[in-house]
């Protein structure tokens, strides 16, 4: 089953909050391999987490 970009963005976000199942990870990876927009989205979500950690750090 092919995931849409919309479904992929939800999975990418949930991947930051819960452990994704094996099937979810495989379908996510298949989609990201061929989709630049979603790959950029995922990188930006990872970056956002890093930026929030920096914002919360006491230094």
């Amino acid at each position: 089953m092919i995931l849409s970009c919309k479904e992929v963005t939800h999975l990418v976000s949930q991947g930051l909050d819960r452990h994704l199942g094996f099937g979810e990870r495989v379908r996510l990876r298949l989609h990201l391999a061929i989709c630049d927009g979603c790959t950029n989205f995922k990188r930006q979500m990872d970056f956002l987490r890093k930026a929030m950690q920096r914002l919360a750090s006491p230094d």
């Binding site: 849409s4 970009c5 919309k6 479904e7 963005t9 939800h10 976000s13 949930q14 930051l16 909050d17 819960r18 630049d36 927009g37 979603c38 950029n40 989205f41 990188r43 930006q44 979500m45 970056f47 956002l48 987490r49 890093k50 930026a51 929030m52 950690q53 920096r54 914002l55 919360a56 006491p58």
Partner: protein, 181 residues
């Protein structure tokens, strides 16, 4: 003792900024900071031997913030009046991007710039209240999703939707206000 008091007082501005980011309500933030400073002064012995006063105070403040969140959610004070669905703007009917996210050039360099964090804070302030609260509990206070759902009294699915909305809105906001070229 006087020296400790002065050092604790010297962290007030930092703590207030931290609490305001999370609570958004100036009075609630000031209350949480005040309680933190009082608890710190009463519990100076708890600090003995620790190296970083700010880290220790922030740890106390987190508990005060969680108490404030609990009170607000018990009162039902935090709601989002317009839970608009961002999906309908971001994607077409078949679930494809209306406008695919472009790559951000060297985003890590932004983490070294004070101005970037000012923009990030402005973006956070624009989020609807409950969406912001869930996101800040997750990314700022470091809660697990299950605990956020419990404190905010929403289902896990709704919790994930709130976090998704926060992240997509912040992505759009940073795109428009920082990474635009």
């Amino acid at each position: 003792m006087e020296d400790f008091r002065a050092r604790v007082e010297g962290e007030r501005a930092y703590l207030l900024r931290y609490a305001s980011l999370q609570l958004r309500d100036r009075h609630a933030a000031e209350d949480a900071v005040q309680e933190t400073l009082l608890a710190a002064l009463a519990g100076e012995s708890g600090f003995a031997g620790r190296s970083n006063l700010r880290t220790w105070l922030t740890g106390i403040l987190k508990h005060k913030i969680i108490d404030a969140i609990r009170r607000a959610s018990r009162d039902g004070a935090v709601t989002d009046s317009d839970p608009s669905d961002p999906d309908s703007l971001l994607f077409d009917r078949s679930g494809h991007w209306a406008e695919a996210p472009p790559a951000w050039p060297d985003p890590d360099a932004s983490l070294e710039q004070r101005q970037f964090f000012a923009v990030l804070e402005q973006c956070l302030e624009r989020l609807p209240a409950k969406t912001a609260q869930a996101f800040m509990m997750r990314e700022h206070l470091g809660f697990e999703t299950a605990d956020i759902c419990k404190e905010l009294r929403v289902t896990p699915t709704h919790c994930w939707v709130l976090l998704y909305r926060a992240r997509t809105a912040l992505r759009e906001c940073l795109q428009a206000n920082w990474f635009k070229r």
